[in-house]
Symmetry: C2
Subunit: 306 residues, 2 copies
């Protein structure tokens, strides 16, 4: 039993590095304290859905203000070493990621600038066609574009990870193939488990695995419990349509289901570790799934290429 910031928690083991591979929340001191108490050593946080460069910088400045206000709870996560230090101190490292390529606009120079400002993951597309590739809800996937190829090369050079969570069935394997460094699908599921355009086919997952890439599962939409509807609407429709877009939902099924009994938030990652053990994973593998694999991936991915 650990007691951290007044929270009691039995999980995870204090020596286990726990990494959340993608989270969006209504960030606050309360949530930071929960992350510390839940033993979350690092979290990849979404800081952009549709924002352009200047708006994304403003989001980064907001995070700088939070780092300044809550230095005992959170630290910038730029390297695997930052994560290890945060873990040793009982704090949480915040790793910036973009769900879209909107922050780099049409300017290849902004790839390195965004990395300098702390970005470590960037999706090439978010559901729709982008300047770089095709999203999973487009009717036609024309693959990685001319600019997309240039951007991938520059992301590889500086250490900004290509994330294809919301990309199409053709663009995704093309990005895996073009990228000289392993890519990530930070939040999606195998389509064989639950068929959906957002989920990934066996072929894509095989190519991802063979390239040394990472797949992160998702608890969406549950982690959005605390969000006002305006945030969900921004995620879904940004500025690209005046209509409401429900993704794979519908007007009659637009709401969010209740949270499952075994995961209410940052304090409950231990239940996932328990579930893995109950399904036959040994301790070493559980440690890898809960954070060790991401830590290794951060180590190999966040710095400049050789």
């Amino acid at each position: 039993m650990r007691i951290v910031w007044g929270y009691k928690t039995e999980y995870p083991e204090p020596d286990m590095i726990l990494i959340d591979g993608c989270q969006y929340a209504n960030w606050s001191e309360k949530i930071f304290r929960e992350m510390n108490a839940g033993g979350v050593s690092a979290v990849h946080v979404t800081i952009c859905y549709h924002e352009d460069f200047r708006e994304t910088v403003e989001n980064m400045a907001d995070w700088n203000r939070m780092f300044e206000r809550f230095p005992d709870l959170i630290v910038p996560g730029r390297t695997a070493e930052d994560v290890r230090r945060a873990h040793a101190d009982g704090r949480t490292a915040i790793v910036f990621g973009f769900q879209n390529c909107s922050p780099i606009e049409d300017d290849i120079g902004l790839v390195e600038i965004c990395h300098q400002l702390g970005a470590r993951f960037m999706q090439l597309t978010y559901n729709n066609q982008s300047l770089l590739a095709t999203g999973c809800y487009e009717e036609n996937d024309t693959g990685v574009t001319r600019m997309g190829r240039q951007v991938i090369a520059n992301m590889n050079r500086v250490g900004l990870v290509v994330d294809m969570s919301h990309s199409g069935e053709r663009s995704t394997p093309e990005a895996i193939e073009m990228s000289e460094r392993p890519i990530a699908i930070t939040h999606a599921h195998p389509a064989f488990w639950h068929p959906a355009q957002r989920n990934k086919s066996d072929d894509v997952l095989k190519a991802l695995g063979e390239s040394g890439g990472m797949l992160g599962f998702s608890l969406y939409p549950h982690h959005l419990k605390d969000q006002p509807d305006s945030v969900v609407e921004w995620m879904r429709v940004g500025r690209w349509t005046k209509d409401i877009d429900y993704g794979e939902g519908s007007a009659s099924d637009a709401g969010f289901p209740p949270m499952p009994s075994w995961f209410g938030g940052n304090l409950d990652f231990g239940n996932i570790a328990d579930g893995l053990k109950a399904h036959g994973f040994d301790d070493a593998d559980v440690e890898k799934v809960m954070g060790g694999n991401w830590l290794r991936f951060f180590e190999e991915s966040f710095g400049p290429s050789n």
Copy 2:
């Protein structure tokens, strides 16, 4: 005698760290090779005169491209350690500075963002009134503004040096007084030596010295020899007037005088060291003036405050 990149040079001593406290040039491989050959370990380069944030980021992206193209000649200069490494390798560390506060616009969050992107010096004013303080050519100097006080505190916090080279006679000592860390006047002269609005009074220099600040002398306008007139015009008038402004010059005296015999460019810093010796400075003091003082100042100024 050293021969570097085909240039012969006797100065400075190979073990002397030489730092140019402010330079603007028409940057090119030729100039980088000259800097290496001249033994210039670091140079504070002006990357903004009137540019707003987005334009300044574009200038930084242009520099990133030069770092990528010429890694054997130049490296980013973010810390004193970067300068020492550049010196050991025979390369030149490039330290970014703004001659104006235009890159932070009206947004205090951009102070830290600019520091994250490598900025290490920022003038509060460039000749004119700014949002932060009053420039040296204004008729009335109302001192450091409300926003100016906030910006100085944030510059102190992150390690962005306050530069008052072009600021007014009241604003300058106020900034020295308000700043919790020593400031710099990177390019100006004592007014007792040459009276000019751009030069600094005995009172200002005394306050600067007592606070541990730095004064850098200037060879302007000679170092602009290679510049097209459009650059000089941008420096002088930016977008703030439709008329030509000659600073302390005039229409009949708008041109640039010839370079002095003892300083033609980056290969000639040794002549300054010689001149100092001829005027009675001992070797230890010459080393400090040529770079040691700036190196110590970088060491104490470029990181976060304690």
